[in-house]
């Protein structure tokens, strides 16, 4: 990046006087801090590199080495002073903002999602394992249910105790031995390092997941749970044949052929096996957004409301914030000014997420405060128009105090003489405001308004915590009428029945483009504003 390759220092500052050279530049303390920090960065690099090397992740390892080399090159050199200050922030920025954006763009041209997660080999192993039937003389295991991470949400693992007492850990990728597990008298695992054992209640909560889980074992066999404490190994009834690149179901005789363009096995009728693999689909996801009639209409109606929401919020908070600032902006003493100020900033200082949930409950149809106070029986969040009005009201309530603070500061910066001169020249109060105060105000506030618009364009919380995108039309359960693009994307990727990461990523890229365009246009316009008033 250009920012990192900074050149010389400040040209404005004069060269040090000759005598100053005698003063030690930088203390011993400075050098010591530098040495310690460099040592720490080596430590972190080694710490990060060890598991990467163990896993054979050479790209990750190369990145670690490159970053460490860059750190040493920048900080040991006497030049590149600006880079010394920018490097930490820029590294984090690249790692957690720029790289994810690039990755999103990469994902958007694949079919990645539920049913298309891993490679073709993983899909075949999964299909075979899932089809096992309990045959005669099958190997049985004592099953202990466990998870990596939290009991309720971590990845499910089968801890299997064989007849000879060995313990194996099995998940969707296969089996691996567990060396340090201790087992009880029944063979159940009582403790295993790195795994959270599930209690009966926790296992009951994930029973569907457990009954669907299949652990690929040897070639053509798989292990499945029968109940919560036993598992069996059996032969697969669906078998992959590399010669025809197809899967044959031995019980029904049906043949599923691999389709490498769509990433799944299809039979003659066009039905697919649910486990597929990840393939590139080119611009298909983008084409879906624009061309698929069902999706295109929901995408564009969401986009329309999204613009209305962002513009409406920006306009609303601007008008209310400015009005309050103007009402308080008087040279004659206004009684209670301090009290007004303290109370008016309350919405901004209260925790926003909690206030959104609170507003949602105030609009609740059954026991909400608003219906009880007004004596009405309106299902506020159940109708499109009232839900949209509610979402805007809530968001304006949250945002206007910030605009009030900004407007107060901007008003104080405008010399009063200008307005007085206009009044003397015969301008009315409104004319003076419209032609003198407002244009000057806009110079200071335009960047803030642009930022407000951009922020609210993607204001996930304001919708997700209030209406959750609803109400949903009966014909489109995935796209609600108060959905913003960002909440719609979130539901596609995480919320629905099956995750569609590829498609969600394509919509993310669309949002990038829209926000960039709007930012670019408004930045140019605000730059023009500055030119005019210079």
């Amino acid at each position: 990046m250009a920012r990192q390759s900074g050149g010389a220092g400040a040209p404005k500052a004069p060269a040090p006087l000759p005598g100053a050279r005698l003063v030690p530049r930088g203390g011993i303390a400075g050098h010591l801090v530098k040495a310690v920090l460099l040592a720490v960065s080596v430590g972190v690099a080694v710490w990060a590199a060890l598991p990467l090397a163990a896993a054979g992740n050479w790209i990750g390892l190369a990145a670690v080495v490159a970053v460490t080399a860059l750190v040493f090159w920048i900080y040991l050199s006497k030049r590149h002073i600006p880079a010394k200050y920018l490097l930490p922030g820029v590294l984090l920025l690249v790692a957690f903002q720029v790289v994810p954006v690039l990755y999103t763009i990469g994902t958007s041209v694949t079919n990645y999602g539920d049913g298309h997660r891993g490679t073709k080999e993983q899909a075949i192993a999964q299909i075979e394992a899932a089809s096992v039937a309990q045959g005669e003389g099958a190997d049985d295991y004592v099953l202990t249910l466990a998870a990596r991470g939290g009991a309720a949400t971590g990845d499910l693992v089968f801890l299997l105790t064989a007849d000879d007492g060995r313990v194996l850990a099995g998940d969707a990728d296969g089996l691996e031995p567990v060396s340090d597990a201790s087992t009880g008298p029944t063979g159940k695992v009582t403790e295993a390092d790195g795994y959270t054992l599930l209690t009966a209640a926790e296992a009951g909560g994930r029973s569907e997941e457990i009954s669907e889980m299949a652990v690929p074992a040897e070639e053509g066999t798989g292990i499945r749970a029968s109940g919560l404490s036993a598992a069996y190994e059996g032969r697969a009834t669906r078998v992959y044949d590399a010669d025809c690149d197809c899967i044959t179901d031995t019980s029904t005789g049906e043949v599923y052929t691999a389709d490498d363009e769509r990433g799944a096995f299809y039979n003659e009728d066009g039905d697919r096996l649910s486990q597929g693999w990840r393939v590139g689909v080119g611009a298909d996801n983008y084409a879906r957004v624009v061309a698929d009639p069902g999706i295109a209409s929901s995408f564009f109606s969401i986009l329309g409301w999204n613009v209305v929401f962002a513009a409406g919020t920006t306009f609303g908070v601007f008008v209310l914030g400015l009005s309050v600032a103007l009402a308080m902006h008087t040279r004659r003493p206004l009684r209670g000014r301090t009290v007004y100020r303290l109370l008016l900033v309350l919405p901004y200082a209260m925790p926003a997420f909690a206030m959104m949930l609170l507003w949602r409950d105030m609009f609740n149809a059954d026991f909400g405060l608003i219906n009880r106070m007004l004596g009405t029986d309106v299902d506020w969040l159940g109708g499109t128009a009232t839900a949209r009005a509610a979402a805007l009201t809530i968001n304006i309530w949250l945002g206007f105090p910030y605009m009030f603070l900004i407007a107060t500061g901007a008003l104080q910066a405008i010399p009063r003489e200008l307005v007085q001169a206009a009044r003397i020249d015969g301008a009315g109060a409104w004319q003076a405001f419209r032609n003198v105060t407002l244009p000057l105000l806009m110079v200071a506030m335009a960047p803030v308004l642009i930022a407000t618009f951009a922020f609210n364009f993607n204001n996930f919380n304001a919708i997700w915590l209030t209406t959750e995108g609803g109400p949903f039309p009966s014909d489109s359960p995935m796209a609600g009428t108060t959905d913003l693009l960002i909440t719609y994307t979130y539901r596609l990727a995480f919320g629905g029945q099956s995750a569609q990461y590829g498609y969600a990523a394509a919509i993310s890229v669309f949002i990038f483009l829209i926000v960039t365009l709007i930012s670019y246009l408004s930045l140019r316009r605000s730059a023009a504003l500055e030119e005019v008033n210079r």
Partner: protein
């Protein structure tokens, strides 16, 4: 108001006009204050409501009881969530202020290749909310969790790293605006005395921009406490969750009956923020506007 007309008797006509002009201001401000305050009043009332349900909560408190607070502190993991939120918010605020101040210093005091691109790049990047790329971050950290669970999901370190990716942002502009207001004679004098660029930054400039550091710290603190979506992806284990996640889950399961506890939690979270906010309010007005004007 009636008092001011009697005190300034000789100027009665002008005074009554003044009162009339102010009356409109007061009417408008009272209406806006009511709009701003009534949901907050409802929170207070619901938190003190002895029944603790949504359907029984009124706008004006009907009774005073601390049951909701006691129940919240003993029956839920609220103390744990509160601690998690504070730790995350304070560390993120401190890291952001530090990283942002470093960047603002060079953007203000040095002229180097890529400076303009860098400044505008920051403005553009902050237009992309980080979590648009949430799928990518989710997958990235799935890999990290396999390799180094210490910084993966269910840890605060992982989440903090992602938050710090957004440290350089509009805040850097705000700080740069402040650094720009400090006269360059300061730097020259220090340079003549043999100060290094680091000494100049830490010993001379940073103490002078403390107000803006405090403001940015407060803004980041508030934003982190309110952050919901990244946290919901990262923190799945109930013990690692933040107040935002915990309170949201509380009213998602049992909307009506947990409402009193929810309101009590909201108040407990608001109190420290409000105290600092009111204390810093004057700085905030100055800080925000000078950043915006000089940008």
């Amino acid at each position: 108001m009636a008092q001011s007309t009697t005190v300034q008797r000789p100027m009665r006509r002008r005074a009554s006009r003044r009162t009339f002009g102010h009356m409109w201001r007061h009417l408008f401000l009272l209406a806006m204050t009511a709009f701003a305050v009534f949901p907050v009043l409802f929170v207070v009332s619901a938190a003190l409501n002895p029944l603790g349900t949504l359907s029984s909560a009124q706008l004006v408190p009907t009774g005073v009881s601390t049951d909701n607070f006691a129940q919240l502190l003993t029956e839920t993991r609220f103390p744990r969530w509160y601690l998690n939120s504070l730790v995350l918010a304070v560390s993120n605020a401190a890291a952001t202020v530090f990283l942002s101040a470093l960047a603002a210093y060079v953007f203000s005091r040095f002229r180097f290749r890529g400076r303009r691109v860098g400044l505008y790049g920051l403005l553009i990047i902050q237009m992309f909310p980080q979590f648009l790329a949430i799928v990518a971050i989710y997958l990235m950290f799935s890999a990290v969790t396999d390799l180094r669970p210490e910084v993966g999901f269910d840890t605060h370190w992982g989440l903090l790293l992602v938050y710090m990716g957004g440290a350089l942002s509009i805040n850097t502009w705000l700080m740069k605006g402040f650094f720009d207001t400090l006269p360059s004679e300061l730097d020259e004098a220090a340079r003549v005395d043999g100060a290094t660029h680091a000494q100049m930054f830490f010993r001379i400039l940073v103490p002078l921009v403390t107000p803006v550091l405090a403001i940015v710290g407060l803004l980041v603190f508030i934003a982190t406490v309110n952050e919901f979506i990244m946290a919901s992806v990262f923190l799945r284990d109930p013990d690692s969750q933040t107040v935002a996640l915990g309170l949201a889950a509380m009213v998602a399961d049992q909307r009506d009956s947990n409402f009193g506890m929810f309101a009590a939690g909201t108040l407990l979270l608001a109190l420290p923020v409000l105290a600092v906010f009111w204390y810093l309010q004057r700085f905030i007005v100055e800080g925000l506007t000078s950043g915006a004007v000089k940008g």
